[in-house]
């Protein structure tokens, strides 16, 4: 492209930017006494228009008309095989690293929660190819199950955890049964609607769920009956340590790490079993599956149920960590974030999902001081990542079995579901 044409094109971009930003950025509505008032912010508009001009120009001159598709450089791709052990080691040792304080541990717990949710959803979306936009519903079912069971019946965390998983899996089957014959986008929308229904019910069924105020005072988990309090007979007392609230945080950290690794282990194992292979086959071609005698509905349901079960586990962890649940934590945006993690990670890749969770959750945490901007950047990142790398970070698939050496399969052959 000639520089003149590029400048013309960039000028056009600047013009469009002016049209977009002049009304919504240039004129800000402020709520004042007796109504609304407008306030001009033309310098901001000028900056944005300039940015559009320069950005477009740079893009055109550097990359030409077509946007670049990002590919990982070979050395980086080869380093990938060491990435998994590295991250695992890092995760195991994190609480003991010198510069790790309470804040970093909390962030670690948050990231691991999303890693676990991502791995859980990866079963449904990445392996079975079922587009689920309401995954947060199962997370909510797990969280409320734990909250209600422990508050009402005084059951301990370790009893509630499997129960919450089972209840979430049950919810998965309940939803899955009627809707699983829908395809692609339709399935996505139906699951979204289901997620919203759950949230509306949680908000309005005040007698059971506490309504918008949620449930608080949820019991904290202990380790083999040792509670993390300063009392006699607590964890610190038993081991002769000085009481430190960080003990509980470290415990919670290892708890979620364990749960996440359990998710990963089960997934990896199932992938090498007929069930996991059938999920992937389903993603590739449902009709061929039927012709081979695979019961498509049951196979989809198992994916849905197992995915939901892990969300249920994660939900009860969430409830016990916060000691508080409310419908606000289970909005559509959560589902979107988890789905973004799975897709960004590269569908079906366990490592990719973990890295994506680290990038998206840890990354947006960097912008925490810009509270309002965080989600804006998040949304923009989703668009940009899809445009430059539609197949996600790890765009290849590893075969589950081989006669000779396992060789990664290029993304062009792998279908992404229906």
């Amino acid at each position: 492209m000639t520089p003149v044409a590029a400048v013309r094109d960039a000028g056009l971009a600047a013009l469009v930017a002016f049209g977009l930003f002049a009304p919504l950025v240039g004129l800000r509505t402020d709520v004042v006494e007796g109504g609304l008032a407008l306030r001009g912010r033309w310098d901001d508009v000028a900056w944005l228009v300039l940015l559009a001009f320069v950005g477009r120009l740079a893009l055109l001159l550097l990359a030409g008309r077509r946007l670049p598709r990002l590919t990982l450089p070979a050395p980086l791709a080869r380093a990938g095989q060491y990435a998994a052990p590295f991250f695992l080691g890092l995760a195991l040792l994190l609480p003991w690293l010198p510069f790790i304080e309470r804040y970093e541990l909390d962030l670690g717990i948050l990231v691991l929660t999303y890693v676990m949710l991502g791995w859980g959803l990866n079963i449904v979306v990445g392996l079975a190819g079922l587009l689920d936009l309401g995954y947060v519903a199962f997370y909510a079912v797990g969280a409320y199950s734990y909250a209600l069971l422990s508050l009402t019946y005084g059951l301990s965390f370790w009893v509630c955890l499997p129960l919450a998983g089972i209840l979430a899996a049950f919810a998965g089957v309940l939803l899955g049964f009627p809707v699983l014959r829908l395809r692609g986008d339709y399935l996505a929308i139906v699951t979204l609607a289901f997620g919203e229904i759950i949230r509306v019910v949680l908000t309005n069924w005040t007698e059971l769920t506490g309504g918008p105020n949620g449930l608080s005072g949820i019991p904290r988990p202990g380790l083999f009956g040792l509670s993390f309090t300063s009392e006699e007979g607590g964890f610190a007392d038993f081991f002769g340590l000085d009481y430190d609230p960080v003990h509980r945080v470290i415990f919670l950290y290892y708890l979620i790490l364990g749960l996440a690794l359990l998710t990963n282990w089960v997934t990896l194992r199932l992938r090498r079993q007929p069930l996991g292979r059938a999920w992937e086959a389903l993603r590739e071609d449902e009709i061929a599956c039927r012709a081979l005698g695979i019961n498509v509905t049951v196979t989809k349901l198992t994916a849905f149920a197992i995915g939901a079960m892990f969300a249920g586990f994660a939900g009860s962890f969430f409830a016990t960590r916060q000691a508080f649940v409310s419908p606000e934590s289970f909005t559509f945006i959560e589902s979107a974030i988890i789905l973004a993690i799975v897709v960004l990670g590269g569908m079906g890749s366990q490592l990719g999902v973990a890295v994506a969770a680290l990038l998206l959750i840890g990354g947006t945490e960097l912008f925490r001081d810009l509270a309002e901007w965080r989600m804006l950047i998040f949304g923009a990142a989703m668009v940009v990542i899809m445009v430059v790398r539609p197949r996600g970070l790890v765009g290849t698939r590893t075969p589950s079995i081989a006669l000779g050496e396992k060789r990664a399969i290029g993304g062009t052959y792998v279908s992404e579901g229906h």
Binding site: V16, G19, L20, P23, L24, V25, L27, R28, T29, D30, V31, G34, G35, L36, A37, L38, L67, L131, P178, V179, L182, G184, D185, Y186, A188, I189, V190, L192, A193, F194, E196, I197, V200, V201, T203, N204, I287, F332, I333, A336, L339, A340, V343, M347, E372, W373, M375, L376, F378, G379, A380, A381, M382, V383, M386, V387, P390, R391, E416, G417
Partner: protein, 304 residues
């Protein structure tokens, strides 16, 4: 009886708004087979641009004349159309022919982006405008219950019908509309016949966004208060309307919108206002499960 009549009026005027948004979903789905997840937020942008234009014209609080309202509507439509065009150009076009999930994720990202962009640019607080079109006529009065047909509601119905009539002429009578329908039938074939399909797709987004802006403007007039989050729910409901009417079918979208508006209004009036969204979502699920081709849609049989 009077009460029901009132609900009917309310339901139809609400349904018109849903119908206008639903047309955008249906058009885009028909032509490129994707759910434009950001369409609800485009509607929200339309409402905001209308609000800002109204304030610019000094309409805050008091009654507005027809000329001023027309200006508000036109400004809203043109700016929002530009947003629609940009969304397609930036987030969807680079992904054409890519993996099927990518545009959907990109659309979800775009929806989050638009929502938070408006939140950052305009603030998170709700924006009350007061009534711009006050008054109405009392149709009947029984047992102390007066059936009101407000001027706003009349305006909504008249404007929506006029816009939809213009839109129908555009799609059925003009060469451009023919090209659009050709793309909808078979995009590859249309491209072979020399139709610039990229342009037609852009146009689809532009028109869809303009219609959503009309809906946004009507919403603003009707409720007198908006915020950056209105797009999500309205979007899901309008999508429900599109599905109920049969996705891909333009009359279906309007019909679906009317039905959703009526169902929601009557549900709130007779059962429970708190669960009115559950009603809409349940209809969505039931329609998709029981009759995925909707009321007026074409039946699709999968060939093996």
């Amino acid at each position: 009886m009077a009460y029901a009549l009132q609900q009917l009026i309310n339901g139809v005027s609400l349904g018109m708004i849903y119908g206008l948004i639903a047309v955008g979903y249906t058009m885009v789905y028909g032509i490129i087979g994707m759910i434009n997840f950001a369409h609800g937020d485009v509607f929200m942008v339309g409402a905001f641009v209308s609000l800002i234009t109204a304030l610019l014209l000094g309409l805050g609080g008091g009654a507005a004349g027809p000329g001023a309202l027309l200006l508000v509507l036109l400004a809203g439509m043109s700016v929002t159309a530009l947003y629609g065009w940009t969304v397609e150009r930036v987030a969807y076009r680079p992904l054409r022919g890519s993996f099927r999930l990518a545009p959907l994720i990109s659309a979800i990202g775009m929806s989050i982006l638009l929502q938070n962009y408006v939140q950052v640019a305009q603030g998170a607080r709700v924006k009350p405008t007061g009534t711009l079109v006050p008054g109405g006529v009392t149709l009947m009065e029984t047992d102390g219950f007066a059936v009101q047909f407000s001027y706003v509601q009349m305006l909504i119905i008249v404007v929506t019908l006029a816009v939809l009539a213009g839109f129908t002429v555009l799609v059925t009578r003009t060469p451009m509309g023919r090209a659009m329908r050709a793309c909808e039938q078979d995009r590859k074939m249309a491209a072979l016949l020399g139709i610039n399909t990229d342009r037609i797709i852009s146009l689809t987004f532009v028109i869809g966004a303009a219609l959503a802006a009309v809906a946004g403007c009507m919403y603003l007039l009707r409720y007198g208060v908006i915020d950056f989050y209105i797009g999500f729910l309205a979007g899901v409901k309008a999508f429900t309307a599109a599905v109920l009417g049969g996705i891909g079918s333009l009359p279906g979208a309007v019909l679906g919108g009317l039905l959703i508006g009526l169902i929601e209004t009557f549900w709130s009036a007779y059962f429970s206002a708190q669960y009115k969204d559950v009603a809409a979502f349940s209809i969505l699920i039931l329609t998709l499960v029981l009759m995925p081709s909707g009321l007026l849609g074409r039946q699709e049989v999968e060939k093996v």
